[in-house]
Symmetry: C2
Subunit: 563 residues, 2 copies
């Protein structure tokens, strides 16, 4: 159950896959050090934290044993600030490095990592939309991790549908607002890790327009902050209870009651949803990275088990006694599937992070739903394979494989379900620009195919499969552009899965170009990368044909089904 | 969280899909009555049983509240005997009816149902291989359910690999044996539901040949049985502990210690594995049916939720306010996927059960790994979709959707993992007869295609897709027949998934022939069946192409991967 950060693969992606590598030496040093910290201080708390869970008693939330100490060290070492502006105490590192660091922390302990993940989202929103005074009040403390952040969107009747929000914001004479309402599913809404919690809360003023155009965003600190930056009185917000969940059990998921709590408007009234989307895009990307993380952790555990569990003779008769199960073809198939999917998703998240640091907003935004939707759906499957490789042992909670299967299951749900991601990809990112960004991606992929055709026979084989997947993508985009809304949205998730698979597979294909050119240095790594990319092309990228037929041929039979 | 047995669909399968329908009125009466019993008495214990779990204290196992009473009624009403011989108090019903009843009990409460499932296996083994006296001693009590049965195969070092068994059987002067050893993962190895427990135990005599040819099968009752059939002294077998598991938590999974327990040899020494296979074939089939059951329960719950949860506006603008989420295309897609897969797996298990009642052993045995492997892998996916449809609510344990996701996960593992099923399908059922049985199935499918081509445009569309899947199957079988062992077994699971999908889809296609001919009676049911079959053909049967390429093109890249 140990964890070792895959820094070599991460650095390969930062150097060769992300568009703008930045300072490679600095990145490697940071990731090595963070990997060591997480392996030693955070990863060992993962299984015990799951068993113990967080507890809520009269509004106080206690995290599992060890979480406070580990978080204290995390803050002391400055890890929260990696990608944030130096102006507020951060280190300004490229987002591809931030994605790798995020994977490491989440692989070590996803429940622990959720607290910093939400803080990142709050930093993002305040940085872009807060006034100067707000930034000065909150950002240094959030960037250092001394305070943590939350996102308060969901209410019992308003999950994916924020138009149904009811939480009320009443303007006061002094320019503040009184916030009243109940929010649910608030990750780390209350806890004992930090001295203050900065809630970002969606609410409506009494005269706001109905629906999503009448939502405003407020800062509601747990403790009000005095002019001298010291903590003032306790605000009227409290944790009513925490949920009993399938997974991420160490992370407290709170029901929050706002009882006339003092809130401060961010930006303009009724523009809250736009601000929230900025924060959510960052959070969605980060959740996609959580998918990579859980996949990697599940893979490392399954690999270790498969190397030591003796059971069964080889099918080719090459040994008489029982061998380690990693010698059985189907165990190898499952391990290869886990590894290839995880590496491809890691590369997808690296390239998406890199595009976020460029000025190509359309490309960066196209990739967010792919990272969130594809990497998280894959993580559920990978964690399930991890259980399967363990056989009966996988079903026993003590083994730890089952925890990944439970933890992974939230990832395709929170920060927008896969269908919400797919609708975003289809509506805002594909149909709105008439397929222009999708077309640009297809052209770039075709160039990679041409490059691969100059390579080895394996590279040519991968080129053929990539080309076929790219044609599936183009056919689907062309079909969706001319479909009725019901038909198009019936195919939204298969379209997302196709596009995510293609863009992830494309990164693996790009990796082959690098690896074939660099075989003389680090031969073992480069050959493994080529073999993994080859497996991906044969076993996973081939799913695009299935998704193509689901989108193009499958809408009619779907819409005909009567329940 | 209520459950309603899908008796209409089951009766359709018994009447039209299984080869030998038997007495339909009797079957319908039995299933209606059993459905009512399970819905009222067994289903309500499912969620509370999961929360409470079974407990073990000093060798005594206490099942959750309500289990004893429900089991008492189950026995009093004679449900254990449905498919067993009337000679021992059973009702001799066809196996297709037994499969339907098994689905009902497991859908109501899979943890509860595991106890009768194991008893069925013990009955099967004793009936075929026990001597007359054994049958007389044990079968009436097992068939009535007054006593329950267990299977004791696994040991810590011997899971899939029974060659590694160590449990010892020392022959005594009086013809009995002393059984000594530790068995793990013994379902209902100890409990408080019945007055006696009949363990069937695999063990080795001191002079037995090594490996699987030296395994014998023994009856080891918890209480020895006196000549007058009354309970005698307690045998030296006890439950040491029970496992803390991901799912089926109400079912006690026991570590059993045999400390010189008195055992009675079944049949001949060293022939135990053959006997065990008979029992396991029955148990494997029953586990496949558990997959159908969990899928159905998860579907019913997700459907009910989707009809009542209001969230979001329709994509086609047909309403202004929030609508029930069942109106959103992707929710419909997930529900249709759950339903089509579940109905197809139900039909697959019905046809397989029917073949078991014929003398066509090759056909019956070919279908067992498909039912076990395909239906259980699908159940994990279906239960996962059930969580997804619930959104955030699905991740909260109180909702109940998560329980199905946890429960389903054991199904592709116990009674032989999917890889074990696939190796059986490939080695014993396909290669051994040179593809003859596989070829016969392909011919029968081709006849169904011809019949469909005479039908509606939907039927013709399904015929085309079925034909394409059948060709995938034939190409794969031809390929496997000429592959090296490593190459062939690298494709074993994709081959199983292809074959299971094809044979399940074939039953849906056969159902269309029936439904199109019978549209004037029960029009709503018949049209729904056609629509579901159509969805299956477009969205699920199309996966055969992917599996074909994994088997045929994918072995090389898999075998090249280095770990």
């Amino acid at each position: 159950m140990t964890y070792e950060a895959p820094v070599r693969d991460m650095m390969f992606n930062i150097a060769h896959i992300a568009p703008n590598p930045g300072d490679l030496e600095m990145a490697a040093a940071v990731l090595e050090e963070f990997g060591r910290f997480c392996a030693e201080e955070v990863a060992p708390l993962n299984a015990p934290g799951d068993r113990e869970g967080s507890r809520c008693d009269q509004g106080q939330v206690q995290t599992p044993a060890g979480f406070r100490q580990a978080y204290g060290k995390y803050v002391a070492m400055g890890w929260q600030g990696l990608v944030h502006p130096s102006e507020f105490g951060g280190q300004d590192l490229p987002r591809a490095v931030g994605a790798a660091a995020g994977e490491i922390l989440n692989a070590a302990n996803i429940s622990f990592a959720l607290c910093p993940l939400l803080t990142d989202g709050a930093i993002e929103a305040l940085r872009h939309f807060g006034c100067a005074q707000m930034k000065q009040t909150y950002l240094p403390k959030l960037v250092s991790g001394t305070w943590t952040g939350t996102m308060n969107l969901t209410e019992p009747q308003a999950g994916s549908d924020l138009a149904l929000l009811r939480t009320r914001a009443d303007a006061q004479q002094n320019g503040t607002y009184k916030i009243t309402g109940t929010k649910i599913y608030i990750t780390y809404g209350e806890h004992d890790l930090a001295e203050n919690i900065i809630h970002l809360v969606l609410a409506r003023t009494p005269d706001a327009p109905k629906g999503i155009k009448g939502i405003s965003l407020f800062v509601v600190p747990k403790f009000l902050v005095s002019a001298d930056a010291s903590l003032g009185p306790r605000n009227a917000v409290r944790c009513q209870s925490i949920e009993h969940k399938l997974g991420v059990r160490a992370s407290p998921t709170c029901v929050m009651e706002f009882e006339g709590a003092t809130g401060f408007l961010i930006g303009r009234e009724n523009a809250g949803l736009d601000y929230m989307f900025t924060m959510m895009n960052a959070a969605r990307f980060a959740v996609g990275v959580q998918g990579v993380a859980v996949g990697e952790r599940a893979y490392q555990q399954a690999l270790a088990y498969a190397k030591t569990r003796l059971q069964g003779r080889p099918v080719d008769g090459s040994a008489q006694g029982a061998v380690a199960i990693i010698h059985h073809p189907d165990v190898r198939r499952m391990l290869a599937h886990m590894r290839a999917t995880t590496e491809a998703c890691r590369a997808l998240s690296a390239v998406a992070a890199g595009w976020q640091d460029t000025s190509d907003v359309a490309m960066a935004e196209f990739l967010v739903p792919l990272v969130k939707g594809f990497c998280t759906e894959m993580s559920v499957h990978i964690a399930s394979l991890g259980v399967q490789i363990h056989g009966g042992m996988g079903f026993i909670e003590d083994t730890g494989a089952a925890q990944h299967y439970r933890d992974a299951r939230i990832l395709p749900i929170y920060e927008g379900t896969t269908a919400i991601q797919a609708n975003d990809l289809l509506g805002r990112k594909t149909l709105r620009d008439g397929g222009a960004t999708a077309g640009r991606i297809a052209e770039m992929i075709a160039l990679t195919e041409q490059d691969l055709q100059q390579g080895s026979s394996v590279a040519q084989d991968i080129a053929a499969r990539l080309g076929s997947a790219r044609q599936d993508f183009q056919a689907v985009v062309a079909h969706l552009l001319t479909s009725s809304p019901n038909q198009a949205y019936a195919g939204a998730v298969p379209y997302l899965m196709l596009a995510g698979n293609l863009v992830a597979g494309w990164q693996m294909a790009r990796a082959v170009l690098v690896a074939e050119a660099a075989q003389d240095c680090d031969h073992a790594f480069m050959s493994a990368k080529i073999a993994t990319a080859h497996f991906y092309a044969h076993h996973i990228l081939t799913e695009t044909g299935l998704q193509r037929s689901r989108v193009i041929d499958g809408a009619a039979s779907l819409l005909d089904t009567v329940f």
